[in-house]
């Protein structure tokens, strides 16, 4: 009989604590943008291997091997650095938060990985599995303290340009997301999600 596995419940604040512990260990100087490829490739010695058409086969950007030594990533994703950084951090999230899954799962190809997930994770558990890794990735690449700092800076910049952020909330959010995405080297979508989750700005 196949064993079913469920990721442990983890609040956003608990995920934040795990992400901060990870940063303390692997990015102690709080370098921004977080050098995620250096951490994965050089510090953790995890190989990053690109695969063509992984997205179409897996419906996912990347996956981590059960030996925790290789991350396979779609070739086109790898070429778009902001998205690649998030995908790689997402796999780190699985490594940090879901190690038990990799002890149980057996696979050696993307097709087998997909099958292992379908077998081991019920739909609800599968969603939690991904959401937790995404939250971890966001919190590692866009740490809370630095996001606050840069977000306030974006407000100052807008005011210097004669714009009061509170008067044009939607416009300001787009402006801030665009600028912050360059500071953190992630997509604007990731920045907006982080702003939303940290309730830094009201979403309309």
């Amino acid at each position: 009989m196949v064993r079913e596995w469920k990721p442990p419940y983890l609040s956003y604040d608990e995920t934040h604590s795990r992400a901060e512990a990870f940063l303390t260990e692997h990015n102690p100087n709080r370098i921004i943008p977080v050098p995620i490829e250096e951490i994965i490739d050089l510090k953790l010695k995890i190989s990053i291997i690109t695969l063509p058409d992984l997205i179409s086969r897996l419906a996912s950007d990347s996956y981590l091997e059960p030996d925790l030594k290789t991350i396979f990533i779609d070739q086109s994703v790898y070429e778009f650095i902001p998205r690649a950084r998030f995908s790689l951090a997402h796999e780190l999230g699985h490594l940090v938060l879901h190690r038990e899954f990799y002890e149980i799962a057996e696979y050696s190809s993307s097709e087998e990985y997909k099958k292992a997930r379908n077998t081991l994770l019920a739909p609800e558990a599968d969603r939690r599995f991904d959401i937790q890794a995404m939250n971890f990735a966001g919190l590692v690449l866009v740490p809370r303290f630095e996001l606050n700092y840069y977000f306030e800076k974006a407000k100052d910049m807008a005011r210097h340009g004669g714009i009061e952020p509170d008067n044009v909330p939607r416009y300001f959010l787009d402006y801030a997301a665009s600028w912050l995405s360059k500071q953190f080297e992630v997509t604007e979508k990731v920045i907006k999600k982080r702003i939303e989750l940290d309730t830094l700005w009201e979403f309309y």
């Binding site: 490829e37 250096e38 490739d41 050089l42 010695k45 190989s47 990053i48 291997i49 690109t50 695969l51 063509p52 290789t70 070739q75 790898y78």
Partner: protein, 117 residues
């Protein structure tokens, strides 16, 4: 070696115009090293190796062995090549008269001892 130089896969490939898909597979042993000497030399140089050094020879020897080939340096040594069939059959478990093995061992010792490779 790339990691030893503090270069990520991306940084190495950008600096040297290499394809990350190819390099990552090569490093992980998923594909055989190139058989083309020109490509091997290019890769060795991109890793900062200098021709004529021990590291250069080691890099090439390892690449040849990983590709299932005998390094040219070995092939150039006619006496050593003469003993290769005996060597290969011995390491695959076949038994040979002790004097033949002793002869081979003595040759390798005389020729290569102390070279560190």
């Amino acid at each position: 070696m790339r990691r030893g130089r503090g270069q990520t896969l991306r940084a190495y490939c950008v600096e040297n115009g290499e394809d990350p898909a190819y390099i990552s597979r090569l490093e992980r042993g998923m594909i055989s090293p190139p058989k083309d000497n020109g490509v091997l030399e290019r890769l060795a140089q991109s890793l900062g190796l200098k021709p004529g050094t021990e590291e250069w020879d080691k890099f090439h020897s390892l690449a040849y062995v990983a590709a299932g080939r005998i390094p040219p340096r070995v092939m150039e040594d006619k006496e050593l090549v003469k003993h290769l069939p005996l060597f290969f059959r011995t390491i695959t478990g076949e038994r040979f008269p002790d004097e033949k093995l002793d002869e081979f061992i003595a040759y390798v010792r005389e020729k290569y001892e102390g070279r560190g490779d």
